[in-house]
Amino acid sequence: MEYEVIIGLEVHAELSTKTKIYCGCSTEFGGDPNTHCCPVCTGMPGALPVLNEKVVEYAVRAGLATGCEIARESKQDRKNYFYPDTPRAYQISQYDLPLCEHGHVDINVGEMSKTIGITRIHIEDDAGKLVHDGYTGGTLVDLNRAGVPLIEIVSEPDMRSAEEAVAYVEKLKGILEYIGVSDCKMQEGSLRADVNLSIRPVGQEKFGTRTETKNLNSFRSIARCIEFEIARQKEVLESGGVVLQETRRWDDEAGEGYAMRTKEEANDYRYFPEPDLMPIRLSEEYIQNIKDTLPELPESRRARYISEIGLPEYDAGIITSSKHLSDFFEAAVAVCGNAKSVSNWIMTDIIRIAKDKGVEYNELPFTAENLAKLIMLIDKGTISSAIAKKVFEEMVETGENPEKIVEAKGLVQISDEGAIKEVVDRIVAANPQSIADYKAGKDRALGFLVGQCMKEMKGKGNPQILNKLILEHLNK
């Protein structure tokens, strides 16, 4: 039987504020356990939370960047559950009056573009971290992360495949980076997604029973988890069973998901208004002010790259999907003025390097300015494209200025006709068979001779002049 897959995502993004949501403790990642803590974020009785104004601003920014309506009146609520990563035994979240509602983002999958609805964006605090204690076999609690501000972005069940879900998270990540509200480092857990998924026979109107898989922190695990869950639910239905509404976990190493708890044991959160925190009222002026200061979003940059710079749609989409990459592109173009060439280097080499090294595009081993200088060396004819690749590899290793590399290694291209002719004469004289082959119509012979000359000149010969001179010889 053919099934339709229904996917909705809840994406949690840690906001890049300096301090926690309800106290002045630092949000810095990686401190010694329990050193960024105080009575508020460790849940001491009587400690009073005070809301960080930046959290409201950042959430509103995220809402405006995703086309949401911003609530003029909003409040925070207690979500009660008992677990040691949450020392108060409740999370402060938002229940019925979130800051942002009814937004959307547009995604592209292959040739298709599609709009994914955003139900709501609300603010809440992150939980602490539980670590297995190898020494005693018990559990250790580190509350440095407890109280770090989060926004939870809830989508409509608008996605139909793993590709669409990944495209949606990539799009959100791009937007959040552009507007500077989250660093979105998935490997540090500052962006993570819960996947709600159900399947139904094609043509059936009623939704199937959905499961929720929590805390996926890479695009790869989102995609794999979705494929796994689709296959699992199909198998359950086809063997005559029923899908249980349950919360699941994904084990990325084993490549499989497992049930954590079913609906019957699921938490009953007993939400109620947080009495320690007063309501949030936002004026038109406040919202307008944030709207006016929103930076250029990926969609707009993408359109500009296509219409003004003439980049292919695909390349423009890839480059603008990351703010860091797009900033890198713009910085390099500002120096060398050759957008096409910068784009080509990005699409072929830079994306590969970032992937190989596992770094973000603002952590590349060389600067945008140095890539621009490399391109200028090619454009001026100082080095050939082949040599440029070698210089580039050197830049990746050392981060050195390409002009210095070219100078130090003596890689300047030889464009002096006399010098090239001397080599060509020698090579052609040594390969009479190739000349005969060429005259007999074997074009390959030309390539062979060019290669031999290049080898003789250690790759430094100007390829245009070299070609011209060999052809002159052959066509004599």
């Binding site: 356990p33 104004e53 559990t139 309501p279």
Partner: protein, 94 residues
């Protein structure tokens, strides 16, 4: 009416083990509390806007400025058990 089942459910959510005797006692207590709170329902609220708060205060915010955190040793004095760096608990990983 508060039932014994509701008390058991709440105890379970709070991870409390209650004896039969305690369940009996809390059912009566909780019933009293709910009845007391229900008195509010007898008030005439005609013309009053719904609100979760008694005070007309809003936008109580803090600047995003780092303040020194607490001394870890002091904080961990409140832990039932610790290894000097972190709160230490029975295993939660199963």
């Amino acid at each position: 009416m508060i039932s014994k089942e509701e008390i058991k459910h709440i105890a379970e959510l709070s991870m409390l083990n209650l004896s039969e005797e305690e369940i009996q006692k809390y059912t009566v207590n909780m019933q009293d509390i709910v009845e007391f709170a229900n008195k509010v329902n007898s008030l005439d609220t005609e013309g009053i806007t719904e609100s979760a708060f008694a005070l007309d205060t809003f936008n109580v915010f803090r600047k995003d400025e780092v303040r020194e955190s607490f001394d870890r040793e002091e904080l961990l004095k409140n832990a039932p058990s610790s290894n000097g760096e972190a709160y230490s608990l029975p295993s939660m990983m199963n």
